[in-house]
Structures are given as structure tokens and as C-alpha cells.
């Protein structure tokens, strides 16, 4: 289909590549602005200016005196995100295995319950979740950011859909080997379902790292804020510091873009799975 398209075909190809690259422009502008002195952010062309790392130095060194501990916020974000992602992956894999492969009374009802949860928008729960976390005395703590996200109905459902499609022979072999639950899931199921696990991991990681509304409500001390919220409060108060704000935006974006680039193959495969 690619051969013999003529001039119009080539123009369309160039057009779509140009559009794809334009889509990356905000990232390019963000990185460029983070590396320029604030005075030059709006006055120089994209790739011009006196390149400097001062904005990042400002964030890590000086921002503490403005009551904005960025390094610590990155640590908090990392801790919360890794705990939640690890817990969601582990619990989803085992519970999805049970749902997809084990016969137990109420299994179908359990699947229906997950579907019901998925059609009720999570934004509805923000306010009552605040009430619960307040009653538990966990406001303003890391537990408030981690506990409510330890398991994911969506993760269980997505994985179970993929596990259901596996041929039964794999499990016959596992039974012959007398493999227990742990070995069956980690050595048989997980390696054969990398794409869907990568998708659940990537979306959980991104969603937790970039979660904004919930930590904005649950955390009020600046020295317990994750990066997303600290950055937003910093931008609100010191919006004039365009350079440092963009440096903070780069820090917030970097882990997500890195993961996306590293796992791009699994991501594209997994996306086509979720769209079936």
C-alpha cells in the first residue's frame, strides 16, 4: 500500500510527520525555558539564549528558603508512586488470576462488581474519602496518599481480561509441576502477559505521580506535599519566576517521559489490547 502514491501521498506523509513533531513543541519549549535565565524566556527564539542550569540550582538550593522543599517533594512523590504501583501490580496480578482462572462461588458476581465500580466516576469519591481519611486521623500524612490507592479494580479487570485469553495447556503444565499459587502467577502468568502488566504499571505510575486534586486536599503542609502539588503552589505564588517554574515542570515530567520511552513497545502493544 505504501508504494506508488505520487506527489499527494508524499505531501500527506510530510504533513503528518510535521504535525506529529508540532505535538512535541510544548515539551521542547518547556525544556528550553527551564535552561534559560527568566529574563530570556519570552524574548528569545526556541533554541536561542544563554543556556544555564541556574533554574535547577535555584529549585534545589534556594527554594527551601521560600518554604518550598523541592528535593524532599520529589522523594515523597517517588516513595508514594513506587509503593502504590508495586502494590497495585502485585494485588491485581493475583486477584485477576483468581477471577480469570479459579472456580469459586461468586466469581461472576465479583467481576460484575468491578465493572460497576469502573462506571462510577472516581471524582465523586474525593469528598467522602476526605471524611474517611479525616476520621482515621491520617490527614496530612503519607498514608493518606498511599492507602486509598493500594488496590485497583481497573487493574484487576484489565489483567483478568488478558489472563482469560491464555490457553489452558499452560496451567495443565503448571499443575503437573505441582506449582503453587505464587509460582503459577509469577512464573507462568506474568511472563506471558507483559504488555497488559506494562499498561497497568504505566497508567498507575503516571496517575499516582501526577495526581493533583487528592493530595491538594489531603496534604496542607508544604514539607509533606508531593511534587505536583508543591509545584502548583510554587507557581501560584512565584509565577513570575518563569525559569524555575519550568525547571520544576521538567522534574515533574521527566520520570513519566522516561518510562514512556523505555516501555514504548509494550505500551503500544498493550494499547491495542485495551482497544479490542
Amino acid at each position: 500500500m505504501t508504494a506508488g502514491r505520487g506527489l499527494g501521498g508524499w505531501a500527506a506523509t510530510i504533513g503528518i510527520y510535521a504535525l506529529a513533531l508540532t505535538w512535541l513543541y510544548p515539551f521542547a519549549w518547556m525544556v528550553a525555558a527551564s535552561l534559560k535565565p527568566t529574563a530570556q524566556v519570552y524574548t528569545t527564539a526556541l533554541f536561542q539564549g544563554d543556556w544555564t542550569l541556574d533554574n535547577f540550582r535555584f529549585l534545589f538550593a534556594t527554594a527551601d528558603t521560600l518554604d518550598r522543599p523541592f528535593l524532599q517533594a520529589m522523594g515523597i512523590s517517588a516513595l508514594v508512586t513506587f509503593s502504590v504501583t508495586a502494590s497495585v501490580l502485585l494485588s491485581s496480578a493475583f486477584i485477576a488470576f483468581a477471577l480469570a482462572r479459579l472456580r469459586f462461588p461468586g466469581a461472576k458476581l465479583f467481576g460484575d462488581f468491578l465493572l460497576l465500580q469502573m462506571v462510577i466516576p472516581t471524582t465523586m469519591f474525593i469528598l467522602p474519602l476526605f471524611v474517611l481519611v479525616k476520621q482515621l486521623g491520617l490527614l496530612n500524612s503519607l498514608a493518606a496518599l498511599i492507602l486509598p490507592s493500594l488496590m485497583s479494580g481497573w487493574g484487576i479487570y484489565m489483567m483478568s481480561q488478558s489472563f482469560k485469553a491464555m490457553p489452558e495447556e499452560y496451567f495443565d503444565a503448571a499443575r503437573l509441576d505441582r506449582a503453587g499459587l505464587w509460582r503459577t502467577v509469577t512464573a507462568v502468568v506474568a511472563p506471558l502477559n507483559k504488555s497488559i502488566i506494562a499498561i497497568v504499571a504505566l497508567f498507575t505510575f503516571t496517575g499516582t505521580w501526577d495526581n493533583f486534586l487528592w493530595p491538594l486536599i489531603a496534604i496542607s503542609d508544604t514539607d509533606r506535599m508531593p511534587l505536583a502539588v508543591l509545584l502548583a503552589t510554587f507557581s501560584k505564588q512565584y509565577g513570575g519566576y518563569a525559569g524555575p517554574v519550568m525547571a520544576g515542570a521538567v522534574l515533574q515530567t521527566l520520570p513519566l517521559v522516561t518510562l514512556f520511552v523505555l516501555f514504548r513497545r509494550q505500551f503500544l502493544q498493550g494499547m491495542s489490547l485495551t482497544l479490542k
Binding site: A12, W29, Y42, F104, P105, Q117, M124, L127, F212, L213
Partner: protein, 293 residues
């Protein structure tokens, strides 16, 4: 079921795994759900005991002009967002089908915005849309005027719609592309024999065959529009003149700034109800069963 007989080992493992999740959901899902229902029929200010007030919250909320304005703002957002996002997604989908080798590269370029940070990008777009920002510099060079993106309610809503469309066009495009792959080629050959032009082929063949995927995009777009918070909160702050104040922003303000959780809980229940109603209406209007004879 198997009354009297002991459960098999398999069933015990299955039940305990499912039970672990149900326990989690009871605490972090069912209990908040119960509180939401309770708040909607009581008067409460975070500290005192809730007092039963019946339907008063509902009556107050449906007549609250700010609440109605925020729902109207969702409609205004959709009027901008739907055409931009659907046109963009179709472009991406046809583009992906058109390019040969670089398919993965093009897809990843459009998808990066979807998986990157919404908070960081909202801050970036605040700068890009500012009067001295790069977008206005470009417009100024071309036509000699600057666009006051955040000073006018309509322009501000357009700016928000553009940012959100930038974020989701790649994802929607991939959905439509998966539908395009399923369209059989010989249908187009037959259409060409009948002298159907490109526009006719698009409107009479491609779009109807993509109905399932277009419906999926439409439902996702409606869900996104009712959930909007980060972009308007950080880019416009809901202004000017509440012109970009979304339901989620109003719920946040009402619950945590004005400390009226009962009012806010009622709003969030009504917002969900309205979004379901809109999705049901959209499906009724546009969903078709497409059968290839």
C-alpha cells in the same frame, strides 16, 4: 450451591483473594459511598453531628446559579472540544494508516502528551498562552494582533479546550485507527467503481463503519469534560467571570474553601447523574448497529 460439602482448595484461594479486594473496597469505596449519600440528605460542617434535612440540599443545589453555570460551562467546553478533538483524532487515525514505516514513531509523538504530567503541562500552557508567550509572538508576527487568551470567557474556554484536546487527540486517534484497520478494503474499490468521490467515501462509508469507535471517543470526551479540574484550576483559575469554572472546581471550592460539604456532596451526585444522562442521550442519538452485509 455445594452446601454441606467442604470447599475445594481452589475455591478457598479464589475466595480469599477476592475477599481481600472486597475488604479494601468496603473501606475505601463502599464507606465513602455511604457518606456521600448521607451528606446529600443532611446538613454538616465537618465538625458537628449531621442533621437530617431531607431533600433540602437537592432543592438548593438545582437552583444554585453557580452550579448551573458550571454545568453550562461543560456544554460550552464540549462545543469547542468535540469538533477539535474528533477532527484531530481522525487526522491522526488517517495519518497512521497513511504512513508506512514510521507508524510507531508518529503514534508515540501524539501519545506522549497523554501520558505526561497534566500539572506540568498546565503550567507550560499558562506560559505559552500568556500575552507575551510564544503563541502570541507567532500570531503577532503573522497578523499584528495579540490574543488576550485568558481575559475573555470564550477565548479562555477555547484555550482550555485546545490544551485538553492536545492531551487526548493521540489516544482518541489510536481508538479510531483500530477501527479503520477493521474496514475491509474492497468496500472502497466498489465505491470507486460507483464514482464516489473522497468526501462521499468518508461520509457514507468510513464514518458509519467507525460508529463504534466514534461512540467510544464521544463517551470518553463527555467523561473528561465533567471531570475537568487541573487545567482550568491552574491555567485560568476558573475565570474570567467564572467563565471556565467547572463542576469539579466548584465542588472543591464549596467543600474545602466555603466548608459546605453537604452542598458539595449533593453537587457531585447531580454532576454524575447529568453526565450519565448526557452519555445515554448521545448513545440514543448517534449509536448505530453497523452490519456489513
Amino acid at each position: 450451591m455445594r452446601t454441606g460439602r467442604p470447599l475445594s482448595r481452589e475455591a478457598v484461594i479464589g475466595l480469599s483473594l477476592a475477599g481481600a479486594y472486597l475488604l479494601f473496597a468496603a473501606v475505601f469505596w463502599a464507606y465513602p459511598f455511604f457518606w456521600l449519600a448521607r451528606l446529600s440528605v443532611t446538613q454538616w460542617r465537618f465538625f458537628d453531628e449531621p442533621v437530617f434535612t431531607g431533600a433540602r440540599n437537592f432543592l438548593r443545589t438545582v437552583r444554585d446559579p453557580q452550579f448551573l453555570l458550571s454545568l453550562w460551562n461543560v456544554v460550552r467546553f464540549l462545543l469547542f472540544y468535540l469538533p477539535i478533538a474528533v477532527a484531530g483524532a481522525l487526522t491522526v487515525a488517517f495519518g497512521l494508516r497513511h504512513v508506512g514505516r514510521g507508524k510507531a514513531f508518529v503514534a508515540l509523538c501524539f501519545l506522549l502528551s497523554n501520558v505526561s504530567s497534566g500539572v506540568a503541562m498546565a503550567l507550560v500552557f499558562t506560559k505559552i498562552f500568556s500575552t507575551t508567550g510564544p503563541l502570541n509572538a507567532l500570531v503577532f508576527d503573522w497578523v499584528g494582533v495579540r490574543i488576550p487568551w485568558t481575559n475573555d470567557p470564550t477565548l479562555a474556554m477555547l484555550a482550555i479546550a485546545l490544551v485538553v484536546a492536545w492531551k487526548f487527540v493521540g489516544y482518541y486517534g489510536l481508538i479510531l485507527y483500530s477501527g479503520l484497520l477493521a474496514v475491509p478494503r474492497d468496500i472502497y474499490d466498489a465505491a470507486r467503481l460507483d464514482h464516489a468521490g473522497p468526501l462521499t467515501r468518508l461520509v457514507r462509508i468510513t464514518l458509519p463503519l467507525l460508529n463504534a469507535q466514534l461512540m467510544m471517543v464521544l463517551v470518553f470526551a463527555i467523561l473528561v469534560s465533567f471531570g475537568l479540574f487541573t487545567e482550568p484550576f491552574l491555567i485560568t483559575g476558573g475565570g474570567p467571570a467564572d467563565g471556565t469554572a467547572t463542576p469539579q472546581m466548584l465542588i472543591y471550592e464549596t467543600a474545602f474553601r466555603r466548608l459546605q460539604p453537604s452542598h458539595a456532596a449533593t453537587m457531585s451526585i447531580l454532576v454524575s447523574a447529568v453526565s450519565y444522562a448526557l452519555i445515554a442521550a448521545a448513545r440514543r442519538l448517534f449509536e448505530r448497529k453497523v452490519v456489513l452485509a
